[in-house]
């Protein structure tokens, strides 16, 4: 009863306990529980694959492959890691292997060979107001944000997606991509500042024109 009360008061604990049960069940051979286990992470797995491959069809295929690989190797999963992190890392590995195999990064590689040249300086210093999260209800806004993300060089996009969208920590991001922690920090800084400038430009183009901002102010 006391345990039940703990879960009522903290739904996150209940979800974590449920996840542990599902993992244990699949590890015992109850494969039919696997989809229930991974369903909450479908979007994140797909987004990780898409960030690396930039092709929806390939991303879906790799996401499925990663799930199958996770199922086949679930007995190797250890509870000290977060299941979501483990799953995302498998996905990143699968996506990187696919990209290497298909050599789709040839053109992007030209950009990626450039090292971080100097320091990135922000370009827009307008007075800032918070964009309400309700803005994301509008498909157009989501699409504009996705387009802005897609314009980043691969090395910045991958780090940004893994850290800020997939919620891996800096160390996990470095391990998943096989780069140093210092590189992750540098790329993350540039990705965030570049996106900030891109969204500021989007403001000029009216992306957020129907949002309830004070007259005469920009979102940053």
């Amino acid at each position: 009863m006391a345990e039940a009360n703990v879960f009522v008061n903290n739904p996150g604990l209940a979800e974590a306990a449920r996840e542990q049960d599902l993992i244990a069940g699949v590890q015992r051979g109850q494969n039919e529980l696997f989809y229930e286990l991974v369903r909450p992470y479908e979007r994140r797995v797909y987004a990780a694959a898409l960030a690396i491959l930039r092709n929806e069809s390939d991303a879906e295929d790799v996401a499925q492959e990663a799930m199958l690989k996770a199922l086949a190797n679930i007995r190797q999963f250890r509870a000290e890691a977060r299941f979501s992190t483990w799953l995302i890392q498998i996905t990143v590995n699968e996506a990187l292997m696919r990209r290497r195999r298909e050599r789709t990064a040839i053109m992007e590689g030209i950009d990626d060979r450039r090292e971080e040249e100097g320091e990135y300086a922000p370009r827009d210093f307008a007075d800032w107001r918070e964009i309400p999260s309700e803005a994301l209800e509008r498909k157009e806004v989501r699409q504009r944000l996705a387009e802005a993300l897609a314009t980043l060089d691969r090395k910045y996009r991958e780090v940004f997606v893994l850290r800020d969208m997939e919620q891996l920590n800096i160390q996990e991001t470095a391990e998943a991509l096989g780069i140093s922690v210092a590189s992750v920090k540098t790329r993350l800084l540039r990705a965030r500042l570049m996106l900030r400038d891109l969204l500021a430009a989007g403001w000029e183009q009216g992306w957020f024109s129907r949002l309830p901002f004070e007259k005469g102010t920009k979102p940053w």
Partner: protein, 224 residues
Amino acid sequence: MVQPPALREGNQAMVNEIIRCERVWQEISNYIEEDVEPVLRAAMDEHFKTCKKCVSVLEGTRNVIRLYSDERMIEVPAGFGRRLERRLAQSGKGPSVVWSTLAAWLVPAAALLLIGGGIRVANSLSVPRPILSEHANPGKNIPPDMLVVVSADAKDFHVPGCPFIHNKDKERTLTAKEAMQEGYVPCVRCMRKYLETADAGHISLEQEARSDFDADDEAPSGSR
């Protein structure tokens, strides 16, 4: 890198300020991550109190992180979950305990079989089959085209008619060379006697074999 206006205009006072701002910009991501030294953090906090530009950078960056971290930013194609579920169901892969246990044994066993098979094939291609008889005799001086008899269940080759041929119903005739290539060795009775005397005279093999057997007065079955 875009050059700030103050640098282009050569305003030293502004340059000094911009240098301080530049340091803030370079640390803004770490600041948000709470990954800066306390002294630097305090200095940045002070800076934000008076610098609207850096506040704009800070809040704009936070805005970016907040927007992109929203789950709604990740859209999966229609039917993604259904297709994933179907593929998982069809895959048949999985860590079932029985399969995993079997696989743990079957994989190394299969590998050993493959290695063993490979060695056997390699040996058969490069090295003559080993002599099977305990009376291993390479059969020196045996005419290679000499016709001999072997039987399926025995290890020796014989002069035709040798009473020591086992299982005569399954005997077959071939040359001595072929018999040796197949791993047969000379019969210590009929072949040895013949080889010892072949150079001395032209005694028929059959005669020689019989005389040898009579002299030995030895039960054939007992000698084998």
